[in-house]
Amino acid sequence: MGVEVVVEGLTKKFGSQTIWNDVTLTLPAGEISVMLGPSGTGKSVFLKTLIGLLKPNSGHVFIEGVDIANCKEKELYEIRKLFGVLFQDGAMFGSMDLYDNVAFPLREHTRKSESEIRTIVMDKMELTGLVGAERKLPGEISGGMRKRAGLARALVLDPEILLIDEPDSGLDPVRTSYINQLFIDLNAQIDATFLIVTHDINTARRVPDNIGLLYHKHLAMFGPREMLLTSEEPVVAQFLNAQTVGPIGMSEEKDADELASEAGIAMPALPPVPLQLETSDGRPRRGQRDPGAWCRDNGVTPPPGSFARDADQAVTA
């Protein structure tokens, strides 16, 4: 039914280079969170630290009371069974066809018969639109298909936590929309905790319940979607609205001179907050909140035109 992930004071360095420092956040159980950040801020490193593929230099990651960052190898392999992970390129096993790839976790971890496995695998392949491609090898299909196959494999053990690395990289906008819709529907169906790592702001604006922003070696902000979308904080506003005005420069951060020359320029007004994507059958998700609820509760006035049914057209116009 979804598991809470508590991250405390996580710090990661490669040699003397700090990737990020003192990251503290809680991924609420059963909700969709997105981790944003400019290229090269260690978003993928963060994701790999959450599953214990990389050891942090300090800090903790608690999942059901187990500290993944400091536990024994054996516990780690046990706790990982709660996870489903979609890697950037799908990470399919090159020597197996798609069917065997998706069936792999079932064959390794369960004692199900081949016919039971077949039912589950075909169900997940149908869900991700891969029917008819079962016997194809990962080398023979497009990047988008590999990604969907990776998702099918991640789903096959009914994960409690789903980690997704850049679902939109290498996908066209239509496929990205489809896969985003799929995440929302999946979340309603399996109630797992989702963490999506991306730098696509369209995904970030419309999909998640919570948004986090990694910037300049630390977690700039983490909180409910509406909190970040209405935030006047320069870094958050600049990134979520893809502007050049603000503290983020071409190479990581702007220097003092550049910032000084921009000092007089006001940040452009925030665009309206779009509606969150809904499930395709209209069924409410557990983590879903009413549009504007956070703003009302916290006395924030959203930018004019927010939460309108056609708000997304207003953004793109």
């Binding site: 392999y77 990982r80 990470a91």
Partner: protein, 258 residues
């Protein structure tokens, strides 16, 4: 910074040793991956069998020519067979096996793991709760060891046969003398130590190749580097290990008295 010249290689060898221990522990963990073992053993046979045959014939011939010439100068032609057999069984067999295992099987294993590493396949496997050492490395190590023993047998047989042909055809030796002196110097323990050597060589080559491949980094170039390093390290290691085993063996099993 100058310290890193010392600590760098020390860390790599330490990690390699730790990896070998991990593999040893995983060897006894169930379930045993029988299918992967058979597939890998067949794969290694496929990449090594033809080069082995081609290497073994000239190897045996060179030894036969060399020892044949020497022995002729000493005036002991009736012992050419014994010298060739001794050299092939004790040294040439295991060494040729080492070359082939490291060059053909090791490079294939390192390249395979390297590609899996950079495509995040190994990460994906760990995330699915499966230990790649138990699932992938152990079957490859056992397969390489098994195939190495058989290759050693092939090299020995082909080498001795090649030596016979060259001695009899090119050096005017008599077939009878060659065959009769077969067991004059060589003894059964020589063959056992050849097989043990092949086993150890197979183990080391597979460990080094797996370790290097699984730790490849930096994209496709990293895979190439990993394969190259794996082969170079394995060669060096196997020749050093061969020296020590031979030295110990000669102390333990004295040469046959005449």
């Amino acid at each position: 910074m100058s310290l890193s010249i010392v600590t760098g290689p020390a860390r790599v060898s330490g990690n390699l040793f730790a990896f070998a221990l991990d593999v040893l522990v995983a060897l006894f963990r169930r379930p045993f991956q029988l299918k992967e073992f058979l597939v890998q053993a067949w794969f290694i046979v496929k990449v090594t069998i033809v080069p082995t045959a081609f290497v073994a014939i000239p190897f045996g011939a060179v030894i036969a020519l060399q020892t044949g010439g020497l022995i002729k100068q000493f005036g002991a032609q009736s012992f050419t067979g014994s010298a060739a057999v001794l050299a092939v069984v004790q040294q040439a067999g295991p060494i040729a096996t080492a070359l082939l295992i490291a060059g053909a099987a090791g490079s294939a294993i390192a390249a395979d793991f390297g590609a899996r590493r950079i495509r995040e396949e190994l990460d994906a496997m760990m995330v699915l709760g499966i230990d790649p050492i138990q699932r992938l490395v152990v079957p490859r190590v056992l397969a390489t060891m098994l195939v190495a023993v058989f290759l050693n047998g092939i090299v020995t047989v082909v080498g001795v046969a090649g030596g016979y042909v060259f001695n009899v055809v090119l050096q005017d030796g008599t077939p009878g003398a060659y065959l009769a002196s077969f067991t004059a110097l060589a003894q059964l323990p020589d063959m056992y130590q050849g097989m043990v050597k092949a086993l150890i060589f197979g183990f080391l080559a597979a460990i080094v190749a797996s370790y290097k491949g699984m730790n490849a980094k930096g994209g496709p170039k990293g895979v190439g580097d990993a394969v190259n390093e794996a082969v170079v390290i394995t060669f060096t290691l196997l020749f050093v290990v061969n020296f020590f085993i031979t030295a110990v063996y000669i102390q333990l099993v004295p040469p046959k008295g005449m």
